[in-house]
Amino acid sequence: MTEPARLTWFRGFSSFRARVFWSVVPIVVSFLVFQGWMNVREHRRLVTEEFEKRGQALASNLGYASELGALSEDLQLLEAAMRGTLRNPDVSYVLIHSRDRRVLARGGQLKASEAPPGDARGDRPSTRQVERAGQRFFEFVSPIVSERSQTPDVVLLGPRVRPRGAEEMEEVIGTATVGLSLAGVEAQVRGLATLWSGITVAFLVVSAAVLYGFSLRITNPVKQLTQQAQKIATGELDQQIAVRSRDEIGALADAFNHMTRSLRVSMNDKERALSELGELNRTLEDRIRQRTVELEVRGQALERSLTELEDKSRQLAAASRHKSDFLANVSHELRTPMNAILGFNEMILDQVYGEISDELRRPLTDIQQSGQHLLRLISDVLDLSKIEAGRMDLVLGDYAVLDTVTAVRASLASLAAEKGLEFVVSVPAEMPLAYGDGRRVTQCLLNLAGNALKFTRQGRVEIAVDLLDEMLRFRVSDTGIGISGEQIDKLFTEFQQADATIAREFGGTGLGLSITRKFVEMHAGHVWAESEIGKGSTFSFSIPLRMKGTMTS
């Protein structure tokens, strides 16, 4: 047996239908068989009983009918008596025996040689089964009674029963035997058994068919459910089970269909959501790709711009450096002839080359002063260009505030004296050492004080220093022409002077204030001015007493 066949066979036994079948059929079969057996048995009993009764009646009747023939032993009378009995289809043969058991007459299907002698106990009716010539027969024996003699102690039986004590005497003169063939009875019983068998088989077939149909009605939806479940398991949700019945199976199928529908709805929702999600994903990916491309393009453009900017910046820085270098060079180149001019002029004034007249001394002094002025301008231009190029570094170190003020006073004292101006300085007696670029601080103070002297015709110029909260404040006040508020705002911008006419009158380029502001800011300080037209001005700057770190412009 192959494996799949065995499985089918096994499933055939274990399936619901098979279980129903195999649990019902044996009961039905055993019931039918039992019923059939009982029926046949009872029927046989009844038939046999009736058969026996009839046989006894026939034998008894024959006994009466043969009374005269037996008495006279007249064969004709006996044959006439037998004829009536033999007409009965069940009767196979008849026998008449005498009292001394001789065969008086015989009839039916019995040969003379086969005729047995009479029964020894022939005075009573009896029944027995015998076999003659291979056939089974029921033999009924009845005594033949004569009323001639009376014997009081004889027990009389049979239909002609007389009351006890009757005068008449009865005497058994022979026996009448009737043989009935069992074939009829047996055929009847066989027919009945056959009929019952037929009924049983038919009933079995019908009930099997009904069972099968019934089980189909149960198992088919179950099978469908199973297949449906398998299909759902593989993802097919579009099928419904046809609901035919309103029983539990129908309810189950209903529930199943409902579940499938819900599942389909939710699966559809899920699929829709999934497809939407997928779509979204794709869109997102597209968008990201697109955005990435855009960004790349922009990035490249930006990079290009950046590169260009860097180039420009480098070019600008280089240009600025070149300008600064150029100015430094020019400044240096200018310094050499200036040195010669001022040097020779001073030596002439100092009469190194001989005596000079007073007329000559005046213009020679003018040359000297203009030369000094020109030199200062050149220095300012150089400083500013260095600051702008970012090449101006502070040289940091400890310095005494008093030294800066003293240096400024020393270099400007002669100018103040020339203009007849009072020039005073005030520094607190105990001033701690400051930290910064002392020479640049001096330069700032020199610029402010120089301007103050320049723009003051009469009165005084004062330099005052004080220390408050670790901040140094330098103040230069004068009694000069003063400047307006608007002009003050412009003052510290490069190349600005309050008024072009003032520039003509007092000279200067305005570079001094710009340079001062830059140096103060490099010291992390600030510069400011207060003024009143006609009354004078005060220029101040404040820087930390001790600045931190190195700062470049």
């Binding site: 240096h332 310094r335 050499t336 002839p337 010669a340 030596m347 100092d350 190194v352 220095s379 640049r440």
Partner: protein, 125 residues
């Protein structure tokens, strides 16, 4: 008594003439060198009493020459006045570090320069 010898190292002829004219009326003997290498030769040969050293020189700079002179025993203590190109350029700081005795910012006043020379090297003992 021999005159005190001063060596002026300067590439510019005009500037050299200023000092030449300035010292004409003094007793100082002036030697001139147009560049650093020449100055080193003259120093070893003439052993000047004072050296005026311009910082901005072609090829070998005044700073390097000063450093070299200071490392040699003959000139280790010779007064050297550095002539810096500009008072605020930081040259004087470097000159001092290299071993200059004093500095003078260009353009200098001949009057002031002579005063400084006389201070460091008196004309007569």
């Amino acid at each position: 008594m021999s005159p005190k010898t001063i060596l002026y190292v300067e590439d510019n002829e005009l500037n050299r003439r200023i000092v030449r004219d300035l010292l004409k009326r003094t007793s100082y003997r002036l030697l001139e060198a147009p560049d650093g290498e020449t100055s080193l030769d003259i120093v070893r040969r003439e052993r000047p009493d004072l050296i005026l050293m311009d910082i901005q020189l072609p090829r070998l700079s005044g700073i390097e020459v000063t450093r070299t002179l200071r490392s040699e025993p003959i000139t280790a203590n010779t007064p050297i006045i550095a002539i810096t190109s500009f008072a605020l350029s930081g040259d004087e700081q470097r000159a001092k570090e290299a071993g200059a005795t004093a500095y003078m910012a260009k353009p200098y006043s001949p009057r002031d320069l002579l005063a400084l020379i006389r201070k460091l090297l008196p004309e007569s003992d």
